[in-house]
């Protein structure tokens, strides 16, 4: 298990707060839609800190009016991947940003295995570090 004070993976905007209710998720999505940001849903079974590309649960959603539409997809994603990490992201295409503007986790595995720190010692006390996702010990189809 992950051993930081929250006992869980702390990526995203709200990992230090209690899990978001559907209503809270909708309120966040509403904020994104009000800014004309495209909202997308992504999932992974390997939340390595450098794993940029989680799988896309469908394409980013453009031109939607109401958060219920996205919440519907969130719940669909949770049903399909109940034991994966799922995050909601909002993308701001304004010139000068063109990058995500929001990212928060809406689903986690019941048991979060966390990471091991692998040290490769070199001369002069120099150490090269890498992280090992315990989740990836099993083959891709059998994790969680």
């Amino acid at each position: 298990m992950i051993t930081n004070p929250t006992g869980r993976l702390t990526q995203g905007q709200f990992s230090f707060l209690p899990d978001l209710t559907d209503e809270q998720i909708s309120a966040q999505i509403k904020w994104a839609l009000a800014h004309d940001w495209a909202v997308s849903i992504e999932y992974t079974d390997d939340p390595h800190p450098r794993n940029t590309y989680w799988e896309m649960f469908g394409l980013p959603m453009f031109d939607l009016k109401d958060p219920a539409a996205i919440l519907m997809e969130v719940n669909e994603a949770r049903k399909t991947f109940p034991n994966h990490y799922i995050r909601v992201m909002a993308f701001n295409s304004t010139r000068g940003v063109e990058s995500p503007a929001m990212s928060f986790i809406v689903n986690r595995p019941a048991n979060e295995p966390g990471f091991g720190l692998v040290r490769a010692e070199g001369p002069g006390r120099e150490i090269r570090y890498s992280f090992h996702s315990y989740a990836t010990d099993k083959p891709e189809s059998e994790r969680y």
Partner: protein, 494 residues
């Protein structure tokens, strides 16, 4: 005597007769001058010596910061002197100074410089001209560089921030909220091993970054390699226990450029995402490190050590907004730019003006915020401002309100001084921040409801409760010295 409308002597024989003639008459004053799009414009606040005509003082500043010397030189005639002469073209009395007020008369003098006067991509050259000699000049009693308009043509000769806000966020995988940091305290005296402990606890507790202080270099109590090794052990341990990208600003400031590169390379080899320098290393060294950072995919943090010596007094020195512009051009990714609410100098309007300069793709003139010129930034990346100095979790709503989302909030004392320990201090800050962002996004009036939002969040977070109780009465209520000239009532530091 032949002269034009501005009183300049146009007859060459007259103009270059040996001796001393007023700057105004030498061609450094031209009330009709229309600045070209490619001109660099400097705005000075000048306090003339008693009896000196403000136009003449402005012309003198123009002269001394471009081609002139105290006397006429015939060698001018070997040049296209008219082009190289800076031109003072506008002088305004500063509001609330001069006759009828309690303040000595001050003037805003606008001076235009042709682009050909400057070397491309060199802050050193730019500053050697604009602030090289004139500040000690006898004709002015005091002089302050208030603002500059840098033409796009000149901006394009600079690299700009090595990384920029957008790419920094992508590298860190942190979006939609301010970044959290803390400076390791005590500033001096910790051994490498003890130092790393603070780094580990703070990052594990929820901060994104920890930071060396400006005067942590390589002293007897902790040599730099030790600090780097222990800090990176801490950073990586914290990443593994949280799954987040974490960092520690390793200060590479040293006595020579060679030593700085050596330290930066070592930081890189240990996998650090960020290195740090101090403003006191000088403009050229900063530009060199910015280039190194760009070449090595490293974020470059700048501590503005020393700036207070020349930015603070209203009538003399350089306004920090000019330093902000130079640093964006020089290419740093982070710069300390004030907190509004903390222990260090900073009027809210002025600080917001600095933030605008660092973060916006375009600044429109905004006198209330002290921005005197429209300034396009020519796609130079955005610098992440850093707010540090006497801020704590209980001010989260004010910080978010005044400073926005693209900022590093650095809670040094507010993390390490937490009664339950460093990790708890970090958690308190992170929970306060996340709760405030959530409330803002939910459309709540987070500024006025701030204390309530924090209280709610503290119900499920005892470290936050303790932080709110410990620092509830801490405010730094002193009047700012550097205040805007164009606000009906000047605002104090709150």
């Amino acid at each position: 005597m032949n002269s034009n409308g501005s009183g300049q002597i146009t007859d060459a024989a007259e103009r270059y007769k040996s001796g001393v003639i007023p700057y105004k008459k030498m061609g450094y004053w031209d009330a009709d001058y229309q600045p070209k799009e490619t001109d660099i414009i400097a705005l000075f606040r000048l306090t003339p010596q008693p009896g000196v005509d403000p136009d003449e003082a402005a012309a003198a500043v123009a002269g001394e910061s471009s081609t002139a010397t105290w006397t006429v030189v015939w060698t001018d005639r070997l040049t296209a002197a008219e082009l190289y002469r800076a031109k003072a073209y506008r002088v305004d009395l500063v509001p609330n100074t001069g006759p009828g007020t309690n303040n000595e008369a001050q003037y805003f003098a606008y001076i235009a410089y042709d682009l050909d006067l400057f070397e491309e991509g060199s802050i050193a050259n730019l500053t050697a001209s604009i602030i090289g000699n004139v500040f000690g000049f006898k004709a002015v009693k005091a002089l302050r560089l208030e603002d500059m308009r840098i033409p796009v043509a000149y901006l394009k000769t600079f690299q700009g921030p090595a990384t920029g806000i957008i790419v920094e966020r992508e590298r860190l995988d942190k979006f939609g909220r301010p970044i959290l940091g803390a400076t390791v305290k005590p500033k001096l005296g910790l051994s490498g091993r003890n130092y790393g402990r603070v780094v580990y606890e703070a990052l594990k507790g929820g901060l994104d970054f920890t930071k060396d202080d400006e005067n942590i270099n390589s002293q007897p109590f902790m040599h730099w390699r030790d600090r780097y090794l222990y800090s990176m052990e801490a950073v990586n341990r914290a990443s593994a226990t949280t799954g987040e990208v974490k960092g520690h600003y390793l200060n590479v400031t040293a006595g020579t450029m060679e030593a700085m590169y050596e330290r930066a390379e070592f930081a890189k080899s240990l996998g650090s995402v960020i290195v740090m320098i101090d403003l006191v290393i000088g403009y050229t060294a900063i530009q060199s490190m910015a280039k190194w950072a760009r070449d090595n995919s490293m974020i470059l943090h700048l501590h503005r050590a020393g700036h207070g010596t020349y930015t603070r007094q209203k009538n003399h020195g350089i306004n920090f907004r000019v330093i902000s512009k130079w640093m964006r051009m020089a290419g740093v990714d982070h710069i300390h730019a004030g907190t509004v609410v903390g222990k260090l100098e900073g009027d809210p309007n002025m600080v917001q003006g600095f933030y605008d300069i660092l973060r916006e793709p375009y600044n429109a003139m905004n006198l209330e915020r002290g921005i005197f010129f429209d300034q396009p930034w020519a796609s130079l990346k955005k610098v992440m401002p850093v707010a540090s100095g006497g801020i704590h979790a209980g001010q989260m709503h004010q910080l978010l309100h005044y400073l926005g989302e693209d900022v590093v909030l650095q809670f040094g004392g507010g993390t390490i001084g937490h009664p339950m320990g460093v990790q708890a201090g970090a958690t308190a800050n992170r929970v306060a921040l996340e709760a405030m962002i959530m409330a803002r996004n939910e459309g709540r009036d987070f500024l006025s409801e701030g204390p309530k939002i924090l209280d709610e969040a503290a119900k499920t977070c005892s470290p936050l409760r303790a932080a709110l109780d410990t620092w509830k009465d801490i405010t730094f209520n002193y009047a700012s010295t550097d205040t805007p000239d164009f606000v009906p009532t000047t605002t104090g530091s709150i």
